[in-house]
Amino acid sequence: MRGRNALVGEVLHGLAGTGAAHLAYLNCLILQAVVVVLWWPKGPLSHALLDQDGPDTLLAMVIALGATLAYYSVRAGAEEILLAEQNPLREWVIATPLALTRILGGYFCGLLLHTLYAIGLSFPLLLTAYSVGGGEWRSVGWCLATVLIQSIFYWLVGAVVYTAVGHYDRATFFSVRLVLLVGYAATPTLFSAASHPFVSSYLLTSYPPMTASSGSAPLHLIFLLFYCVLVVVLLVVLYALLRRLRSIAPDRS
């Protein structure tokens, strides 16, 4: 089919056709479930009301979702995780004559679908936490948007790192983890608007409502804008890397 991108088709087949696509994400789900259990309200409702200290279950779950999905994404971007019968990105670039833009477009759509699938797997846990967490749908929606854009960012980080140094296993292994660690550790101190835990806390718990650390735009919008810009930059970088890769690859024809 001319209209259908093969990379997207691969992802769809991998997600829906095999019945085992979730297994790579299962450990993340278990972690999230542990977080929900640990942050489940221990005392009775009266304690929460009279002490004005409601449970933080939803906030903990959103932060756990963001962190685990970021870890999953950076590994998936580095192709430590591939769906059944899914070809690596390098192979698409080297072994097929498809235009790079088409490959990159299909890759991006595929990673988006895969990320949404992972978020979908976490949804029952999120709704369980939501029931006692005292959130509102609008805030949860924004939280999910920040989780999504962050995971896309880390996925592309993994892809860029792997494309650049993928043939060095240990370098890739440590590099992607280091990037994730630095990203999570540095952002709260250097630029809080780019810290997912901080923005989630702002969305779900702030009182009185905070405006922003810079200017008057809401924090979550700054977060989304910041990571959107980074995603675009990473796509450009990835495109350049793939183009270089294709140019130095031996001619298969």
């Binding site: 019945g19 278990i30 009266s46 962190a67 590994r75 899914q86 709260p188 835990p197 650390s213």
Partner: protein, 691 residues
């Protein structure tokens, strides 16, 4: 599970075990960075000044606000006071909102908060409207701000400084055209302070008279008052107000319907006294009256004559509910009483000013033994338990982990299995939403409403004391809409001693609502309110050989679901009391349900089918607290009993609040006079049913 696809040897297989590295919640880091993050919340001085400029520009020539607070711009701190706002529109037709904002709390203690009274405002071009509010004025450090807004924009604004307007004295309102009672003003400012408000500016709610000690009517009729204003005076009088009416030659004013209904006697003519001798003798103060003077001649005296000149009543008093009406049958502002030295003492006696400040019943201090926190403490765990949580998570993760291992024989089964893990979240997500939501832990706002109704003796009115607890399990501003009352609510600090200040919005008008400007979930907002309602319950009892005989008239229009009589340390169950528009209900009581000293009210409502378990617990807790408090505080005499009844709540949830989860308990507490058997007659011992 890791997939690797070495293609053409281009990439070596990459095997990395998917070890998950749990990340730790960086709450401490979040807190640290949040302290350094967005801090500019309130207006900076420059921005505030610019906003004021903009407001002034808007208001200049288009909207004019004039506001008066209290009576003749005088009020008492720590009391409710009337506030009248006149808005004049010289611009285009206006549809907006009028807001009056008062400030409470202490800035130094960090618990400053505001209450905004809001009313919708529609004002045509070149028109004027007068709107009345009743506001609680706690202190004078911050001004009262009056604003007109439309579409989020402030169109006009006025600040009312309070520093120079409050009075420490006892306010006496004089409704008169020509009476001059300034001689009653205390020189130190702490005694009586006489004010002369225009009747048009009188409050239209009884709470507006909260700071008023007495009202004097001289030479004016109450017919000029609106229905609401008249009802406000009537209710204020019933709850303990003091009304003094002066007679005079123009007694036809006293025969106007509203005054005639209030007076303890009817003036039917005039009688002349030749001199002041008999008056001097009655009051014990010489009255210099060389010429004859007139006194109202009375008929149909219903009250008590406290002073008379011979057989001519001079002062007649009558109790109305908890208040009192005093009728001077002479003109206090004319010869010879206008210059009489004894008049001051007579006034003070009529005002019944003991010199002791009445404490506003609406206390703002929360106590650990408040009823609503007790009810909430007793409602069990509330949250879904760990058992159901574990089971749900185990089932979900178990299905995901093991579903793919199934090996169906049929092709259809294998095809369905592939879809199973896709469908599993779609099944478990709504299941989680409903199981941990409406089934086990309904979300949304909750209200606990405790009402105590205290009917006044010989009055159709009753005092209503309300305790309101609002909380929500979801983030978002809580808006509590109600009907049936115009109670003045004031927030009380929560029992947790939290110093977080919360701002309130009071929506007045057709649909009354309370809105808290605090989106946090799991915060219990406590308020107290008062109102005077129409609620007539009359009872009397007599002691018989075998027990008590109680006559009870319930004119409230609704039955009492359950009633008890507490007398001499015992509680007697009366059962349901129907509404009686006809003859009184008569109860013959011989057997006590329990002894107050030995038993609590737990189980008193076990037979009620209407109440749920939660409502029963709430009602029994309220009975326990309120009845004991009433018996301890009011110290019933040996010839008095306390009628306790469970009634329908006069406050009804409406609008968006109609679907809230709620617990509402309404108690009627009425003192009942008991006619005791003559001493010497032996009464049969009353048996305690539980002994």
């Amino acid at each position: 599970m890791i997939q690797k696809l070495p293609l053409d040897g281009l990439r070596p297989g990459l095997h990395v075990s998917s070890k998950s590295t749990p990340t730790r919640l960086l709450q401490g880091l979040i807190l640290l960075t949040s302290l350094g993050a967005a801090e500019h919340l309130s207006s900076s001085p420059v921005r505030h000044a610019r906003a004021l400029e903009a407001v002034t520009a808007h208001s200049a020539g288009k909207l004019n606000i004039q506001a008066t607070v209290g009576f003749s711009n005088t009020f008492k701190l720590g009391r409710w006071a009337p506030l009248t706002v006149t808005v004049e529109n010289r611009g285009d037709d206006l549809v907006g909102e009028l807001e009056v904002r008062t400030t409470h709390g202490d800035e130094l203690q960090g618990n400053l908060s505001t209450t905004s009274h809001r009313r919708s405002l529609e004002l045509a071009r070149d028109s004027r409207k007068k709107i009345r509010f009743t506001v609680f004025l706690e202190g004078f450090s911050r001004p009262v701000v009056v604003r007109v807004t439309s579409g989020g924009q402030v169109l006009a604004r006025q600040s009312i400084e309070l520093r120079h307007r409050f009075s420490e004295g006892l306010l006496v309102l004089v409704l008169s055209r020509d009476a001059d009672l300034d001689y009653l003003n205390a020189s130190d400012g702490k005694g009586v302070r006489v004010l002369y408000p225009h009747p048009e500016l009188l409050p239209d709610h009884w709470r507006g008279y909260d700071g008023v000690s007495a009202v004097v009517v001289h030479g004016v009729s109450l017919e000029q008052l609106s229905t609401r204003q008249h009802q406000a005076i009537d209710k204020w009088l019933a709850q303990g107000g003091v009304l003094v009416v002066s007679g005079g030659p123009n007694y036809s004013l006293l025969r106007s319907p509203r005054l005639a209904e209030l007076l303890p006697a009817t003036p039917v003519g005039l009688v002349q006294l030749l001199n002041g001798a008999t008056v001097s003798e009655t009051f014990g103060s010489p009255l210099n009256a060389p010429r004859p003077f007139s006194i109202n001649r009375l008929s149909g005296v219903r009250g008590q004559v406290t002073h008379r000149a011979g057989d001519i009543p001079l002062v007649v008093q009558e109790k109305r509910g908890r208040g009192r009406v005093t009728y001077f049958t002479f003109d206090v502002a004319s010869y010879p009483f206008d210059r009489w030295l004894g008049m001051k003492q007579l006034w003070l006696s009529a005002f019944d000013l003991s010199g002791v400040e009445h404490v506003t019943a609406s206390s703002s201090e929360a106590r650990e033994d408040e009823v609503i926190p007790m009810i909430i403490r007793g409602t069990g765990r509330g949250f879904p338990g760990y058992g159901i949580l574990f089971s749900f998570l185990a089932l979900y993760l178990g299905m995901l982990a093991t579903g793919h291992r199934l090996r169906p024989v049929s092709r259809t089964g294998r095809r369905l299995l592939r879809r199973l893990t896709l469908v599993t979240p779609l099944i478990f997500a709504p299941a989680a939403y409903y199981l941990f939501g409406p089934v086990l832990f309904p979300r949304g706002p909750n209200a606990v409403v405790i009402s105590v109704i205290d009917p006044f003796a010989k009055s159709a009115y009753a005092r209503l004391e309300l305790e309101l607890g609002l909380y929500s399990s979801q983030r978002g501003s809580v808006r509590f809409e109600y009907e049936g009352l115009e109670a003045g609510f004031r927030p009380t600090p929560s029992a947790s001693d939290s110093k977080d200040s919360v701002n309130w919005i009071v929506h007045e008008g057709a649909r009354r609502a309370l809105q808290v400007n605090d989106p946090r979930p799991y915060v219990l907002h406590l308020l107290k309110g008062q109102d005077i309602i129409t609620h007539e319950v009359r009872a009397s009892a007599e002691q018989t050989k075998t027990g008590l005989r109680l006559r009870l008239r319930n004119n409230t229009g609704r039955p009492l679901e359950m009633a008890w009589l507490a007398f001499n340390g015992f509680v007697y169950a009366l059962g349901p009391v129907p509404e009686s528009s006809g003859p009184d209900n008569v109860f013959v009581i011989e057997q006590a349900a329990f002894r107050l000293q030995d038993h609590s009210w737990e189980g008193a409502l076990s037979e009620s089918k209407r109440l749920s378990a939660r409502e029963r617990y709430a009602a029994e807790t309220v009975l326990e607290q309120k009845v004991r408090a009433a018996l301890e505080a009011d110290t019933l005499g040996p010839a008095e009993a306390l009628l306790v009844g469970l009634a329908a709540s006069p406050l009804r949830l409406a609008g968006v609040s109609a679907s809230w989860s709620r617990r509402m308990v309404s108690l009627v507490l009425l003192r009942v006079p008991v006619q005791l058997r003559p001493s010497g007659a032996k009464a049969k011992k009353v048996h305690d049913a539980r002994t």
